[in-house]
Symmetry: C2
Subunit: 157 residues, 2 copies
DNA sequence: CTCCTTAATGAAAATGGTTTCCATTATTAA
DNA sequence: TTAATAATGGAAACCATTTTCATTAAGGAG
């Protein structure tokens, strides 16, 4: 992880500032796709979306950039059990929009939800605090996913 | 998924009953390992533990058996981000011992915790109920994992 | 603006966990 | 015991991700 500064015009440029990462066309393209297409994109999904406009950006760069973004905390790397990692922006230009996931094990549909977050947030903070103290962990992230069958898939059975 | 009955002496035989699965040496060996070695074993871990006693059980069978057990709900398939699936028994002979995980992103250490489960359980039930109704999901499982740095790893930084 | 250092990149090859194939074996019901 | 077929193992295939390495280009210095 290098150190230094950089400049640019996108909202994410500030995030790079102070981390010494160079601002390249590829990285901008990938961040652009991620900030527009909301959802849960795989590396290949991103590649396919980026390719028409920037045909010279390879899959390898997608993976490398996602790794950087993930380490910077700008992107969440998710696993929904379909054999490939999926990525989503941790927060948009307007700020955080933290949410959890509801995954259908039948058709792999994923629902973002922010409902019930009030009680959840409270409990999570308590839990993080308690666990951190008890196990001497510096907790900085969590994953909460519910698995089940969506209406269509439970109807099929 | 076949149908029928089966017999045996292990506590898990009952689980197989009514599902039509045949009770084989390999499956017993794998369940045996899982019930003894608590932890989070990869398919290869299990293979290595099973091999000395049953050298003729292949990795393929390990994977297939874990898949069956996972579908039966007898085993949880977990992802801690280290590139391989890990498995743990959903419950032992004495009953359930549901827990959540605390994962160190520095050294990959995983802590099982059951503390704070009381409030968690209550909230989870509420949440599952609410989400299920709102999104028409039949929720039957959840994953909760906290990520952070353990004492050793946060000291290193 | 030009030069220089070195981070970033792309294409191809390698990796490695998991799955598939298929001929053979073993479990179970009859 | 026998027949039907589920289960198995070894090898090959799969395929998402990583590594290699020669080439390009971002960005600071001057
Ligand atoms: Mn999401
Ligand atoms: Mn565990
Ligand atoms: Zn579904
Ligand atoms: Zn650690």
């Amino acid at each position: 992880m290098p150190s230094g500064e950089c400049r640019g015009q996108g909202w994410w440029h500030g995030k790079f500032r102070g981390c010494g990462y160079r601002l390249t066309l590829g990285r901008e393209a990938i961040l652009d796709i991620l900030s527009k297409a909301e959802g849960h994109l795989s590396a290949e999904d991103i590649y396919i979306k980026v390719h028409p406009k920037y045909p010279n950006i390879g899959l390898t760069t997608i993976y490398r950039t996602l790794d950087v973004l993930s380490n910077l905390g700008m992107v969440y790397k998710l696993d929904f059990g379909d054999g490939r990692a999926r990525y989503e922006l941790a927060e948009g230009p307007k700020g955080a929009h933290h949410h959890h996931h509801l995954v259908c094990t039948g058709c792999n549909r994923v629902v973002d939800y922010t409902d019930f977050i009030d009680e959840e947030v409270e409990l999570l903070q308590q839990t993080e605090k308690g666990l951190g103290k008890k196990y001497n962990f510096k907790i900085n992230n969590h994953v909460i996913q519910f698995y089940g069958l969506c209406d269509k898939c439970s109807g099929n059975k």
